[in-house]
């Protein structure tokens, strides 16, 4: 497998540094929020990781369609990478959302539409991984994966809409409101946008790495088939 291209090596360093800067910004540049206190500072990474999760989700759905049209296995590697990264980032987003909810609204979980949809999306991703695990033929694995990703890509937005309507008709007593209600000052907005930009770069870096890993894995799998014959 070819060594890391120089661009990627640069991205590694850049991503790490930028995350550090974003962290410092969230800690020291952004003001202290009056209602919730220090815990509000996790909001910036919560939004940014959710954003990366969304990027991964869209990438996975688009790539699934491309794969079905072209039947070129290289798209399968990309699709798997997108799902895995989206899975990890949404996990962080969900946990941060939960940590933020606890002191703010006294509950670890609010059945807020975005949070709930993210949790359901994680189940879809896990189902996707389990589906792939149960298939040995790489071609079939790729096809089924793509079909399921496509179905998920259509179903999850509908899920979000239905939970949204569910919540407006049925305000939940247990949980609190969502982040929509937060009034943000200029420096807060700046920190948030910066975090989103930083994590977009982190997304590209990790995506690239995961794709390389997938390509390497396919090579080794082919080699294994050749040797065992």
């Amino acid at each position: 497998m070819s060594p890391q291209p120089r661009v990627l090596k640069v991205l590694n360093v850049l991503s790490a540094l930028l995350v550090l800067v974003a962290f410092l910004m969230a800690m020291f540049y952004a003001p202290l929020e009056k209602v919730m206190g220090e815990v509000q500072r996790v909001f910036y990474f919560h939004v940014a990781t959710a954003w990366v999760g969304m990027l991964g989700f869209i990438a996975a759905a688009v790539v699934a369609v491309i794969f079905l049209r072209t039947q070129d296995l290289k798209w399968d590697v990309i699709g798997l990478a997108a799902v895995e990264i989206s899975l990890v980032f949404f996990l962080v987003a969900i946990v941060l959302g939960s940590i933020w909810a606890r002191p703010a609204w006294g509950t670890w979980w609010t059945w807020e539409p975005r949070l709930t949809t993210a949790a359901i999306l994680e189940m879809v991703y896990l189902a996707y991984l389990l589906l792939r695990q149960g298939i040995e033929d790489p071609d079939r694995r790729a096809r089924f994966g793509a079909v399921y990703t496509l179905l998920g890509g259509l179903s999850v937005p509908l899920t979000f809409i239905s939970i949204r309507i569910f919540r407006t008709i049925h305000p939940v007593v247990i949980g609190g409101g969502g982040s929509e209600k937060m009034g943000m000052t200029g420096s807060m907005v700046a920190t948030m946008l910066f975090s989103i930009a930083v994590f977009s770069i982190v997304f590209v870096t990790l995506f690239w790495h995961r794709i390389r890993l997938g390509q390497f894995s396919d090579k080794v799998e082919q080699l294994k088939l050749k040797v065992t014959q």
């Binding site: 189940m123 189902a127 389990l130 298939i135 998920g152 509908l158 939970i163």
Partner: protein
């Protein structure tokens, strides 16, 4: 695998127009399952017994007073349908795979999607039959009148969406190592809009709410059904390719 050209295969259909050929294939596949089931009644009996057991379990597990029971009716019904549905889907596809019927069907000179529609229609029929038994039984056991046109309509719409996705996913899961176990894992996250909308709409009809409140849920069901029937139709080929 290439589709065999019509001219090289002498079947009773080769002299007819392609459109009726397609419809005939769909109906033939659906009828094959229904006829087999009429004779053996294996699938329906297991789905029915299972559903009735779930309803019994709900009664004891939830132990609610009469007022509270009315509130959970729609939810309890749909949980029952969802679980019984996976039983039916699994069995229906497993039979194809195990007896090699699927390979035989794939050799037929007809568009692959006809297999999907045929299976979906028979799966839907089984699910509707089970629902037609469960609803009156539930009415009697819980002393709630479920003979509500709106409720029946919602049950129909929801079942269509559930079976549309379920048939496609069952065709996939039956080809994996984990088979039966995988279907609910694949199906349930995707079918949540149906469950949410069906339960809310059913409750709406049972509580005789304003149509304007029920309409959004009906819309979601219809949109879901249309989208997923269309997608399943387009994508089924990829699922049964060799």
């Amino acid at each position: 695998m290439d589709k065999l050209p019509l001219t090289t295969l002498r079947t009773p259909f080769t002299n007819q127009r392609p459109q009726s050929n397609y419809l005939r294939a769909v109906l033939a596949i659906a009828w094959k399952d229904l006829a087999a089931e009429l004779r053996s009644r294996e699938l329906l009996s297991s789905m029915l017994v299972f559903s009735l057991l779930v309803i019994l379990i709900f009664y004891f597990a939830l132990e609610l007073d009469v007022k509270a029971r009315e509130g959970i009716t729609a939810g309890a019904l749909w949980v029952t349908f969802a679980f019984a549905g996976t039983l039916g889907l699994n069995r229906s596809m497993a039979v194809e795979k195990d007896r090699g019927c699927l390979d035989g069907l794939l050799l037929a000179p007809v568009d692959r999607s006809a297999i999907y529609f045929g299976k979906a229609i028979s799966n839907l029929a089984f699910m509707l039959i089970v629902e037609a038994v469960v609803l009156p039984v539930y009415s009697v056991m819980y002393n709630i009148n479920l003979f509500n046109l709106g409720l029946i309509g919602v049950t129909l719409l929801g079942s269509v969406g559930y079976i549309a996705v379920g048939t496609l996913l069952a065709a996939m899961s039956v080809q994996t190592r984990t088979r039966d176990v995988l279907l609910p894992i694949l199906l349930f996250p995707l079918v949540i809009p149906v469950l949410v909308a069906a339960v809310k709409a059913s409750s709406g009809f049972l509580l005789a709410l304003e149509m304007s409140e029920i309409l959004p849920w009906l819309n979601i069901l219809i949109v879901y059904d249309v989208i997923f029937i269309a997608v399943a139709f387009m994508v089924f080929d990829y699922v049964v390719e060799e």
